[in-house]
Symmetry: C2
Subunit: 369 residues, 2 copies
């Protein structure tokens, strides 16, 4: 009995301590709420145009790659430096394999570069509005955040180069605006900036130009690519960074030893090797993007030309939130952001022609046109 | 021409800055060298007993699970809160699904908990020798490290509870010693410790007891499990933490939104559901562990009974490093650690009976017995 009471006392003391969360977890973790991913409806019939997934299947080789995994590949650790993918990607892009660093989705690579470059005294900067994960990564790393609104005509803001940030992220093409900055303008920025510049090219597959050529000129640039959009592999989680040997070597220090599993490595190689399939797929999405942009403009939406696989459509009346909710009742999901500068806009992923028809029909009904 | 010269000047300035790495990357990142994963030989004929992989294939259901991935599952983001796995694991362990947090391998979960609990003023503690990744994670997080040698008979060291660390990791069973601390002793420690205690049970599938029962009594405990050892899925990267709702909610804040891909989620569910296959497999490995322990003792090695899928074998003469190198020449790979307290020891993963025979034959040759 004495033993029992003593134990009870200890447990109570222990519980007391735990109610004071400030002791158990770092202050920055305690204060933050965490990132909210886009809604994933359960219904198979849902028309899902809310998280910028590709509406088409991945390349046929991906299915074969996953079927080919051997018992030995399952039970052994996967290649820790992504040997096959690095070789194939280096060939495609004209780089040295060591300039390529792979991640468990682009999000992991964003985490890695923030961990290399930012801390309590070293800020992260980015133009706003942009990908809403960036501030969350800064909260987790407990680094200061410098948000600078985009300049006139969605240009790089003047003050960004001298913000004092040790890492600047430019999402290009940008989400959720769909706009793009030219490689020349980004190059000028890199030249005048003394920190690390990450160009988040998650959506670049749907644009007419990219910043790859800048790698030859600037050592402080890292370019992030994703397989979640152009390559239809959001489910497999894969992204890669192309950068200088200097930045790559820092990223290699913070990565998990085996951060990309064998199935994803094989899927990514198969997808990258089938450039014909990829380019056809991208062309189809760009055609549909053009079609729904025109159709929605005819319905009264204001839309800047998009360089991504989504469009941002502005409307005064009825309210964007109302349209979003009305579409959801029809099992059609698009994205509404309850954020400054975005409350009169809707972000709509480009779907298949049939899905886009459903969207447009829904809009006609809701707008009473 | 003026424009060209101006640009050249800027590039030079830029290169100059980059040579001063202390500016580009955080000090802690600049100073660290990074974790070195175990050697992965290319040869298919190699006998690989150096990284504690399971010598047997994963459950048949895993192969089926990977073949069943649909186009829609590939192209959409995977379940962000691992719905199916959480349900199956919660049933198996008698927990609430929200007490389970999944990761891209156990290593990612270690990263997550270090990011929740440690910073420049909040130390990480662990008894040594142990898993050599722990100090690397502390370097990346830039937190102080408190290393305390194991107590007499590989017990929890007395000073560990009052070390001042906000996170303590006890690897149990421990690598690379193969020893185990009883749940009672761990419970006593948890009661007297006011920080978060992570019990790294990566190897517990091969032990006779585990710490799961402690979750009912202590809110400051988190238990880490891996699918890389008992479930033969090192290639797929999967682990999970079982903990209090309080600690789980903190981990959910720092996780990547979609940290486990769809193929791994499906593989993990299939593997966990086939407990018969798993238990048979574990029993075979434990039998072989017993056999090679006795055989190596007969050859002159000193070996403490192991509770894992490897053994740590001590030898005075010839040197452990020499034996390691001689085996490698025979395409047999085991692990040698050039670390204090380990230089007279070899860590040998338990292989198939045929692999273990090759190992023992090699040892007989090298030792001239």
């Amino acid at each position: 009995m004495r033993h029992f009471l003593a134990a009870l006392k200890i447990i109570q003391t222990n519980k007391q301590v735990l109610n004071d969360m400030s002791f158990l977890f770092n202050d920055n973790i305690r204060k933050m709420t965490g990132y909210t991913p886009g809604f994933q409806p359960d219904s198979a019939r849902a028309i899902k145009l809310n998280t910028n997934e590709n509406p088409y299947p991945p390349a046929p080789g991906v299915f074969e790659a996953l079927k080919s995994i051997s018992a030995s590949e399952f039970r052994k650790y996967p290649p820790s430096t992504w040997k096959d993918f690095r070789r194939v990607a280096a060939d495609l892009h004209g780089l040295d394999p060591q300039q390529i660093v792979c991640g468990n989705g682009g999000d992991e690579l964003l985490t890695m570069i923030v961990r290399c470059c930012c801390d309590t005294h070293r800020p992260l900067a980015y133009p706003t509005p942009t990908y809403s994960l960036y501030p969350e990564l800064a909260h987790i790393q407990n680094c200061p955040i410098i948000e600078v609104p985009w300049g006139p005509g969605m240009s790089i803001p003047d003050s960004l180069a001298n913000s004092g940030a040790t890492l600047t992220i430019i999402c290009n093409p940008n989400a959720p605006t769909g706009t793009i900055i030219s490689p020349d303008e980004i190059g000028d920025f890199a030249a005048s900036y003394s920190g690390v510049l990450l160009i988040d090219e998650a959506y670049v597959d749907f644009a007419e130009e990219n910043c790859l050529g800048l790698l030859k000129r600037y050592e402080n640039i890292a370019i992030l690519r994703s397989f979640s959009k152009g390559y239809s592999l959001a489910g497999m989680r894969f992204g890669y960074i192309m950068t200088s040997h200097l930045i790559a070597s820092a990223l290699m220090k913070v990565k998990d030893s085996y951060n990309v599993n064998i199935a994803t490595q094989k899927a990514a190689v198969a997808a990258l090797l089938d450039q014909d399939y990829f380019l056809d797929n991208v062309a189809r999405i760009k055609n549909e993007r053009q079609r729904i942009t025109l159709a929605l403009r005819n319905l009264g939406f204001e839309i800047t030309d998009s360089h991504t696989n989504f469009i941002l459509a502005k409307i005064e009346e009825p309210e964007a939130k109302y349209i979003h909710d009305q579409l959801a009742e029809r099992d059609i999901y698009i994205r509404y952001f309850n954020l400054d500068g975005l409350r009169d806009k809707l972000r709509i992923s480009v779907g298949t022609p049939a899905e886009n028809d459903e969207l447009l029909n829904g809009m006609v009904e809701i707008l009473g046109k």
